[in-house]
Point group: C2
Chain length 500, copies 2
């Protein structure tokens, strides 16, 4: 897949689409046709896979995923080359991909998030072509608009039936919501469900329906359950983190947004979860019932639903066994797809209905731009995921972070990489005070009235630098190793090669 030149980012809602939704080929399936296959090599030959194609994957198996490696090892052994891998995330488990890049089997990557050896290799300039990095909503948009064309999508499913109904709820590798794969199923030219657990037809409930799945590949195991879901997710125990979380919860409570019908998203980080916890206590005390919870779902959010503090959970991705249990058993906990969650270019996504989102940051600058893509060395160690999406949709976007991390100031003059634009960020909460975007003076007033310590973001930057010194700008190489696409498909930043 060759990428055309991207227009530069202007503002969150600048791009007005003038195009039609991508149309994959129309298929024909007779009662005599069978989708069930067990030989991956034979399947790749018969589809057929060809040099230069783009293969799609989802990341719901996280660091327990064996499907991506399995497909690429087989493709490599068959001699295929020049493949582009479009996966919603890459994790350390995908280390074998580095060898496939070195050998020319893989020459392009497209993703929303990456950590581990693949991210390190990309940062060092291993790939000739820059990696395309989307937000989760932006990936759905790119598929829907035909700007990311997937020739063959491999959709790992913890259970399937022989006619292609797919689910993440059953089987030894159960992971919960299959939401990020919905767009792959809808827009890839060929769709292959990959499962280790075949259940009788019809599989109910199915997350992806049979009429969009061309093959069902039965394998011994799709992954390692230990890497897929954690047993429990925990709120932070770090005292500084708890101070930040308490301040953030007080700020949210003071914002005027927390009333009946309040909607809330938080990431699965320890500090973000702690905010949810404290906010839940506030809502219980005040007798407030929120509407929906969104985000990577954990037991903490399930708890808020089960206590009746929120009416529903909209689940595009679950992180722990509690999230899985709830999705399977609670009719008010429902699965949603990536486009419905966060695509800016459809008839209305869920983040547009968000009152408040709590997000983390690797860096934030005095214009409130946030970096969650690169670390202190300039190497890729993350990506937007849903960060830029939720920030653009929510009425109030709150960044929670320590003022210093690993002895480095988090507040900067300019972020190393702009993942989420400052136009969509409203509040920064640190252990030493709260900064509010100049675009939202009314929030600053409310926080002050509530007795919160509101400070100019430049003062927070100076304070951090007085403790840890002014960080030197990262020395960057010339080569662009990744293009950071804003959710609407414009170019918001470029990531340069790390200089050794």
């Amino acid at each position: 897949m060759t990428r055309s030149v991207l227009s530069p980012y202007v503002s969150p809602w600048h791009r007005k689409p003038n195009m039609r939704r991508y149309g994959p080929p129309v298929k024909r399936t007779t009662p005599a046709d069978s989708k069930l296959v067990t030989d991956l090599a034979a399947l790749l030959r018969s589809i057929p896979l060809r040099d230069g194609m783009t293969l799609g994957f989802h990341h719901h198996l996280r660091n327990g995923d064996w499907v991506l490696n399995m497909v690429l090892d087989t493709a490599a052994s068959l001699g295929f080359r020049n493949l582009t891998i479009a996966s919603s995330s890459f994790f350390p488990v995908h280390a074998p991909l580095v060898e496939h890049i070195k050998n020319g089997v893989v020459t392009g990557l497209d993703t929303d998030y990456m950590t581990g050896p693949v991210a390190e290799a990309v940062s060092r300039g291993l790939l000739k072509e820059a990696v395309a990095m989307h937000s989760h909503g932006g990936r759905a948009r790119a598929l829907e608009c035909g700007e990311l064309r997937v020739d063959i999508a491999f959709i790992a499913a913890s259970a399937a039936d022989e006619r292609g109904n797919l689910s993440g709820l059953e089987g030894p590798s159960a992971f919960g919501s299959l939401g990020y794969a919905f767009s792959d199923a809808e827009f890839a030219d060929v769709v292959v469900g990959v499962t280790d657990t075949l259940l009788p037809y019809p599989l109910i409930p199915a997350s992806i329906p049979q009429h969009r799945v061309d093959f069902v590949l039965k394998v011994d195991s799709i992954g390692d359950p230990k890497g897929i879901v954690s047993g429990t997710t925990r709120i932070t125990r770090d005292p500084v983190g708890l101070v930040i979380a308490k301040n953030a919860a007080r700020a949210v409570a003071a914002s005027g947004l927390v009333k009946d019908g309040f909607s809330f998203q938080t990431g699965a980080g320890g500090a973000s979860l702690a905010v949810a916890h404290f906010l839940g206590q506030h809502m219980a005390k005040e007798g407030i019932t929120g509407s929906f919870l969104m985000g990577g779902i954990t037991g903490y959010l399930v708890d808020l639903l089960e206590k009746g503090l929120f009416t529903s959970i909209l689940d595009v991705q679950g992180f722990d066994l509690e999230a899985l249990r709830s999705l399977k058993s609670n009719p008010r906990h429902v699965e949603v797809g990536a486009s419905q969650y966060a695509n800016p270019l459809n008839s209305g996504c869920i983040v547009n209905a968000l009152d408040c989102v709590i997000l983390g940051a690797t860096e934030i600058d005095t214009d409130f731009n946030v970096n969650v893509s690169t670390g202190s060395t300039g190497a890729i160690m993350g990506g937007s995921g849903g960060h830029a999406d939720a920030a653009a949709g929510a009425k109030m976007t709150v960044i929670v972070t320590n003022l210093l991390r690993a002895r480095l100031p988090i507040v900067r003059d300019r972020v190393t990489t702009r993942t989420t634009p400052g136009d969509t960020v409203d509040v920064l909460v640190t252990e030493r005070g709260i900064a509010v975007s100049p675009a939202r003076p009314e929030l600053a007033e409310r926080f002050k009235e509530a007795g919160l310590k509101v400070r100019d973001i430049h003062d927070l930057k100076k304070l951090a630098e007085s403790m840890a010194g002014t960080p030197k700008p990262v020395a960057k190489g010339e080569k662009t190793v990744a293009l950071v696409e804003y959710r609407d498909g414009t170019l918001i930043d470029e990531i340069k090669q790390v200089k050794d």
Copy 2:
């Protein structure tokens, strides 16, 4: 919408598609956008509706539907002309459409089924252009392939939220599954949800998701509950009908198909329901558990699910309050869309998994072609609905009918209109014997072994004629008033104007 010339029907799986799925325009929706409107006229002007456009509707409100008339009355009052109405069915309640045709507001129709004044007016040649008549699966195919292009779809929903999540389960006009509208939501250029019941966001469960709905039109009432669902559906009490049903159930039992995992579809006609009833008794006695039930869902099928005789119901349309109750409360009773149900040109529809379907007939000929489109005068009084779809998918298609109806033989040399081709029909069960297609000699053998009266279909024809005389061929006019499309989009028959 102008229709291009259709290729003639050849055989059930002759057509191999070489095209891409239709792509409606990509939209953009910001958090500030609102979809909720209450003024239909203002909405039509703002979309904007234009002369010559095609408007889509679904028929889940059946003879209680007020939405189609409401939209057309408003369009007419605004002076729009030359509209094509693509509705999955027309019922007697749509009589006002006749005036809109006479006045030039409506000049084209596209449907799967019609009865009442609209069907009569079409049969008399009121429209200049022939009506396109699909099967239910064929309509989904036509939308998906861009062969039926809907400019604006109006999707009646018994409940909605302000962001466009739509449902048929709640509210005073609840009707159950919204399955036939799924394709309209996916492929119409503009989608308008029409409801009389707004519920808090997020509406759960939603049948059609917010990100495919552009407007939510709130009206006082979408229909008359008395015309929407019947309180109960009943099996036939006619002694002859019961004989036919018992014979059909015995034939199905003798077919070899009824074993664990057996899947079954039946229409909502009294004789078909009676077959389901007797077959259930057989399965209970033999300790057989089937897999899925399909078709227009009634309390009789719900009863089979609740008795544990089948594992699931796949519901594209519900007919009575029991079907509604079950869909709302039983996790093994799930909603499916029209493409998933019966579209031959996707990656595999549910009818392909059917073991047996029981269907009715207005006429059947000695080549086993079936007419459910036109009555004894040649006037349109029906249409395929799912008839041709289920017949093509099922391993065994059984037609149940009296040998005579209104003193006319049902078995003919040649059906007046070919709705479902004889290539896809296996068995005819009448009160005077069972005829088996020459393509299925093994079934005839099994039926004989089971002591059933198997007769040549020509003998059944002669028997009927000996009792009621040979029916005169219907005198037909020159003008073609409807094109009967087979489910794959080929032309299987034409319906000529009725001669007065």
